[in-house]
């Protein structure tokens, strides 16, 4: 098991997938051969052909174009949610870890409560509170439980950093707390946070797909999950729709997982 995993980690296939994903997310909508919302009822659910490389789906939309547009949505949601979660999580976690006592208890208590809900259940509950969930709502719903992981990580690291000699020295020299945190604590958190955020991107992209699959995605936007949902409803007659859209999700998530593992090996010298 270790050897296979080690080999997978050494070859950065994951990194290749991740780079492809971001490039397609950036330029996808410009290179897409068709408008993904274009209705063409004469060519509904056609298998792959030269005119439609990945075939057509519901209302005759071009699947390749829909996937390219969906990559952008997934990339935006992933980057924004992880970005917001990392910032809030790091702030709260460092604060809890450094201040200790009541602050620590309150922040850890909230984190525990948020984690007592399975993530997707809490997301659905939040989205149920708006009439027509849009992109913003989706991002907020995903960030509500996204920050917890980073807060826990930042808190745990801060607890050990706080007792380290260089931090103690800074304290003894009378350096203000805020500056200690900014100069000495947070920079040392970056490595673990980057590793966690990489895997976290895969988690968020999967969560966005799952919510869209359940029909809770942002309104008109083209999403991989929504495409997979359409594909599943015609699965028995036209399996290509579900195969391609689900494949895009699976490969992307795998890419982020492999990259996270690979980064862990590179950035964490203790594991080498």
């Amino acid at each position: 098991m270790k050897r296979v995993r080690a080999r997978l980690r050494r070859t950065p296939i994951g990194l290749g997938i991740v780079l492809c994903f971001f490039v397609l997310g950036l330029v996808g909508p410009w290179i897409a051969p068709y408008d993904p919302l274009m209705i063409d009822l004469l060519h509904e659910y056609e298998p792959p052909s030269w005119t439609h490389l990945l075939g057509t789906g519901d209302n005759g939309i071009d699947i390749l174009s829909a996937l390219l547009h969906g990559a952008r949505l997934a990339a935006i949601v992933g980057v924004v949610v992880v970005g917001v979660s990392v910032v809030f999580g790091t702030l709260l976690g460092t604060w809890a870890g450094y201040a200790g006592r009541l602050t620590d208890h309150v922040i850890t208590g909230i984190a525990d409560l948020v984690q007592a809900f399975p993530a997707i259940v809490l997301n659905i509950a939040i989205l149920a509170l708006v009439a027509r969930p849009g992109l913003m709502h989706l991002i907020v719903a995903l960030a509500v439980n996204g920050w917890v992981l980073y807060a826990r990580l930042a808190r745990a690291e801060t607890l050990t950093l706080r007792e380290r000699e260089f931090v103690e020295a800074a304290r003894a020299l009378g350096v203000p707390t805020r500056q200690i945190l900014r100069r000495h604590v947070v920079p040392n958190l970056l490595g673990p946070l980057v590793i966690q955020a990489t895997t976290g991107l895969g988690v968020v992209i999967l969560a966005e797909s799952t919510l869209s699959f359940l029909g809770l995605g942002p309104g008109k936007a083209v999403s991989w999950g929504a495409l997979l949902d359409q594909g599943t409803s015609v699965l028995l007659r036209f399996p290509h729709v579900a195969l391609f859209s689900g494949g895009a999700i699976a490969v992307t998530v795998l890419g982020f997982n492999l990259t996270g593992d690979w980064l862990r090996d590179r950035l964490d010298p203790l594991l080498r």
Partner: protein, 317 residues
């Protein structure tokens, strides 16, 4: 029974129970606050601007929003405590709990089936992988684990339907008659695969740790044959940590049922939850969120308690 318990164990059990109770109160409060924390008028936000005044008034009444917050909270707590968990917005004649009670068995059966699949795959596979670490079986196990974790269940479900329902025609398709237990196999596999992957890794890691201990070497030296050695001496001790991790994965298991019930068109808590979502039946949404979270807390509690009874070291932490 109580007399047999040491004071340390009793203190551990009571403390753990109190913490679980506190968590449940916290969960109820969060679910209560969710609706109240929406900026602006929650009724407007939930129903959209198309809704008529009657519809809005009805929701306002259902959510108790026309009274002071403290009173709202007390009556919400009352609804939770008396077991009704409020009244459905769509079906005023039904309590939320009675609606959930009708579908809960389907979800529980599915979750247990998924657990069984995971355990049946993971424990033998993890044990063999640990016994033959670094060799063929170990590689097969690791491939299964990596693949199982990588495939999202929203894709695995359709793939399984295509393979076993459409191509091979071994198992029923979604929407077919649900009477037979064979209709459970594909949904259980859909949820259980990722679970099996995690458990395989854990079982393997725990087994390798146990197999390196001296009592195993001693047993081997005494001439205990390798199969009883693995099963009776090693696996029994390795399973404890695996059990706890199994409980921690329960959240994933419950989320998995929501997705899987949709893919396989099965009735259950997830289907009720999604239907309530689309109908903006907020009391039912709240009830489903809460029941899922409480199941999660209670199962973790049971595992912790069992663990505390079996392993005295846990009580000290």
């Amino acid at each position: 029974m109580v007399r047999m318990m040491s004071p340390g164990l009793l203190r551990y059990l009571v403390g753990r129970l109190l913490r679980a109770l506190l968590t449940v109160v916290g969960l109820v409060t969060i679910v209560f606050l969710l609706v109240r924390l929406i900026p602006g008028d929650p009724v407007e936000a939930i129903l959209g601007d198309q809704a008529g005044p009657e519809e809005k008034a009805e929701l306002r009444r259902a959510l108790d929003l026309d009274r002071p917050v403290a009173q709202q909270y007390l009556s919400f707590l009352g609804d939770m405590a008396d077991g009704s968990m409020g009244t459905s917005f769509r079906r005023p004649d039904r309590s939320v709990w009675s609606m959930m009670r009708d579908v809960l068995p389907h979800t529980i059966v599915l979750a247990i089936a998924a657990l069984l699949v995971a355990w049946l795959v993971a424990i033998p596979l993890g044990t063999i992988a640990a016994a033959k670490a670094g060799r063929g079986w170990d590689k097969i196990a690791s491939t299964v684990a990596v693949a199982g974790l990588a495939i999202p269940n929203i894709w695995l479900g359709p793939l399984l339907i295509l393979a076993f329902g459409v191509k091979l025609r071994w198992l029923p398709l979604p929407g077919d008659d649900l009477a037979g237990p064979e209709a459970l196999i594909l949904p259980a596999l859909t949820i259980g695969t990722a679970f099996a992957a995690v458990l395989t890794r854990q079982t393997r890691a725990a087994m390798i740790e146990v197999l390196a201990q001296q009592y195993i070497t001693a047993a081997r030296a005494r001439g205990v044959p390798s199969v009883p050695l693995l099963l009776r001496h090693a696996l029994r001790n390795a399973l404890l940590p695996v059990m706890t991790i199994g409980a921690a994965q329960l959240g994933a298991l419950l989320s998995g049922t929501i997705v899987t019930e949709k893919i396989f068109e099965r009735p259950g808590l997830g289907t009720l939850f999604l239907d309530a979502f689309f109908a903006r039946d907020i009391p039912v949404v709240q009830g489903c969120v809460l029941i899922i979270a409480v199941i999660y807390v209670v199962v973790n509690l049971i595992v912790d308690l069992a663990y505390g009874v079996v392993d005295p070291r846990v009580r000290l932490s």
